[in-house]
């Protein structure tokens, strides 16, 4: 697992604080090249923060993040931007530019970063839209799209420059079953067809496990468990079991930390 | 979004119209064109009292604008020294007299040139001394003189 050739992203002993609250302490992750890796964790466990660290949008207090053997947080602005051109990211909301239509949204990175002629851009964009099945929707505005369609357009935009890696932030959240199925299928297929590396950050255990090659479970600022999807689903540890099967109470308590019940109710001063 | 050509057209219209209004302000309202006397020569004139004369006040010869006041200072004899620029197309005979007049009853003040007869003209750097200038009319002085005259007539 430590061979640099096979791991596209290496996160080593990262510590990160948000205000006074520690989000990660000594977190280490490896994301293998060409595979679909899922990072699972409950809401607020800092999963999106991991993606922001990989993308260099925020810097850790300690530790290093290597992407394609480059230390993300030691790069110059230009180096970081060059690296980001080779990464795609799918935001939870899609984050389409609301004043551009579908076609222009997908064409946006191409127009910003290349000086390709318009005819070539057209080919490129329609090709990617075809991959996500929305070639016919090219003229629509983002406000006219359903949540699932918006996410597919955003996906087309994320892969339009043929990146080496795509990061998905909660790709399954808030979708109807059909759209969800489409996205699940797309992530796996695009990964294999375009030979990319995919990182999925999510709390939807079953969708993630159905397509992921390798799964990390993150909580309390560290990796709780890791393994391939099969192992994780059948794991015996209480923490893993609670999360994977969605039990309401377990090592992660149902109650938010509070004062003693009787103290709170009986001795309340009004 | 709006068609690119249409948008560019309106932006162009907007900028042109707005610039025109700025040009209008500069030249029609701010008088930028005429405040520039053009190629000129400088003279000075000494006055006993300049009244309300201000820099940039017009200098007129027979009612025609020939120059402007550029600055007003006090000379060694505590007299007002008015710096004037005159367009080089206009010539002022050396025996001309300069007086400060008021445009209308309450209007702004200007310098009127009463053309002399000598065939020799003022050149750059010349000074018109107080003998050849007439100070501004000060209303209080006028009224005072009027009463003095009346009193003189009454005493005769």
């Amino acid at each position: 697992m430590t061979n640099n050739k096979t791991d596209l992203v290496r996160i080593e002993d990262i510590a990160f604080k948000r205000g006074e609250r520690s989000v990660f302490a000594n977190l280490s992750l490896l994301i293998p090249r060409g595979k679909v890796t899922a990072i699972l964790g409950s809401s607020g466990a800092g999963k999106t923060t991991i993606l922001n660290l990989i993308g260099g949008r925020i810097a850790p207090e300690a530790g290093h993040v290597y992407v394609d053997n480059q230390d993300v947080h030691q790069l110059s602005t230009n180096g970081l931007y060059a690296l980001r051109k080779r990464m795609g990211m799918l935001f939870q909301s899609g984050a389409l530019l609301t004043d551009l239509n579908v076609f222009d949204n997908v064409a946006f990175p191409v127009r910003e970063h290349t000086r390709l002629p318009e005819s070539l851009i057209r080919h490129l964009v329609l090709l990617k839209l075809e991959l996500v099945g929305l070639r016919g929707a090219r003229g629509l505005m983002p406000s006219e799209l359903s949540g699932g369609m918006a996410r597919r357009v955003a996906l087309a935009r994320a892969i339009v420059l043929d990146p080496m890696m795509v990061m998905y932030d909660e790709p399954f959240a808030g979708l109807d079953p059909i759209s969800m199925g489409v996205i699940v299928k797309l992530i796996r297929e695009l990964n294999d067809v375009l030979s990319m590396t995919s990182v999925i950050v999510t709390h939807d255990v079953h969708e993630a496990c159905s397509i992921a090659d390798y799964v990390y479970l993150v909580g309390n600022g560290k990796v709780i468990a890791e393994g391939d999807a099969e192992t994780m689903l059948n794991a015996d540890t209480a923490e893993v079991k609670q999360f994977m099967s969605g039990l309401p109470d377990g090592p992660v308590p149902f109650h938010y930390p509070a004062k003693d019940l009787s103290d709170d109710f009986m001795k309340a001063k009004l | 979004m709006l068609n690119r050509k249409v948008m560019e057209f309106w932006v162009g219209m907007f900028v042109v119209v707005a610039l025109l209004s700025l040009v209008f302000l500069a030249f029609k309202v701010g008088n930028l064109g005429t405040s520039d006397v053009g190629k000129s020569y400088q003279i000075k004139a000494v006055f006993g009292n300049i009244g309300q004369l201000k820099p940039k006040a017009p200098v007129k010869q027979s009612g025609v604008l020939i120059g402007r006041v550029t600055a007003i200072t006090l000379n060694g004899d505590y007299k007002a020294e008015v710096h004037i620029e005159i367009n080089e197309n206009f010539k002022i005979p050396v025996d001309s007299k300069l007086s400060i007049r008021t445009a209308g009853l309450l209007g702004s003040q200007y310098i009127a040139v009463h053309t002399g007869v000598i065939d020799d003209f003022l050149v750059n750097g010349d000074v018109v001394d107080e003998a050849n200038t007439q100070s501004a009319m000060v209303l209080e002085d006028l009224i005072g003189r009027f009463f003095v005259n009346k009193a003189d007539e009454a005493s005769k």
């Binding site: 980001r84 051109k85 946006f108 | 707005a18 209004s21 309202v29 702004s108």
Partner: protein, 260 residues
């Protein structure tokens, strides 16, 4: 008691910190303006949104303000028998004060509030973050074009307002109330100075344009990414920008015309 003192302290620290962030923000925006030289299309697009769409309100308001000046000026000046100075009075008040100030206030309401809401929503919907991840600098792509457009549009709008206002005063003074047209314009031209009046008014409007657009963009960029946050940011933009206009106008008037 100590609670109130520490409250004052907290507010003060917050204000200083915020001004520091606003300064850094302006630096980033200005840095983003440089690469825009190669992409004037982005600025043109924002000039349309900011300038052209403010055109109507500026022209209509300018006309009405000018006409009111015509009526009031005539009534006041007639008492002293100097209605011939109506053109001069209208031109001086419009070029020095009303043009830059009222145009900037209208600009704040019409364009700046929209700027804040737009930037705030772009932030709330992760559009700015997604641009960053696409290796597109949002300061260059989103904020700098809007800043430049505000900087260019504001003096133009102020000039337009002033010119239309003078026309409005002419309409009432000359056409309706019968001030002689020659006297109206002659008095105006001999009394109005290019440097004292027009240029100083122009400088004011440039300063207003920079400050007001800066406030609008900064508030949008700093907005809490919720609907309540964006609406608060929009309100703050209008309040802060209006106060900044009036405060700066006082300071600039004192510097330009105060003869201190």
């Amino acid at each position: 008691m100590t609670r109130y003192i520490s409250l004052v302290g907290r507010k003060a620290i917050g204000t200083v910190e915020r001004s520091g962030r606003a300064g850094l923000f302006l630096y980033d925006v200005l840095a983003g303006c440089m690469p825009l030289m190669r992409r004037p299309g982005l600025v043109v697009q924002q000039l349309y949104m900011i300038g052209v769409l403010s055109f109507i309100i500026i022209v209509v308001s300018g006309l009405f303000v000018g006409m009111v000046l015509g009526f009031q000026g005539y009534n006041i000046l007639r008492d002293y028998g100097t209605e011939s100075a109506l053109g001069l009075m209208a031109a001086k008040t419009l070029t020095r004060e009303l043009g830059p100030v009222v145009a900037a206030l209208l600009f704040t309401g019409r364009a700046c509030s929209a700027l804040t809401a737009e930037i705030g929503l772009m932030k709330a919907t992760e559009q700015l973050a997604s641009m960053e991840m696409m290796a597109v600098n949002p300061f260059m792509r989103v904020l700098a074009p809007r800043f430049l457009a505000g900087f260019i549009a504001m003096p133009l709008l102020a000039g337009l307002f002033t010119a239309v206002g003078i026309f409005g005063a002419h309409l009432i003074g000359v056409e309706l109330l019968g001030v002689d047209v020659g006297v109206f314009w002659n008095q105006m031209q001999s009394g109005t100075d290019f440097y004292d009046d027009i240029l100083n008014g122009f400088i004011k409007s440039v300063v207003f344009g920079v400050v007001v657009t800066w406030i609008a963009l900064f508030e949008g960029y700093e907005a809490v990414p919720t609907s309540a946050g964006v609406s608060q940011a929009t309100t703050r933009t209008v309040v802060y920008a209006s106060l900044a206009i009036l405060g700066l106008d006082f300071i600039m008037t004192a510097l330009m015309f105060g003869e201190i």
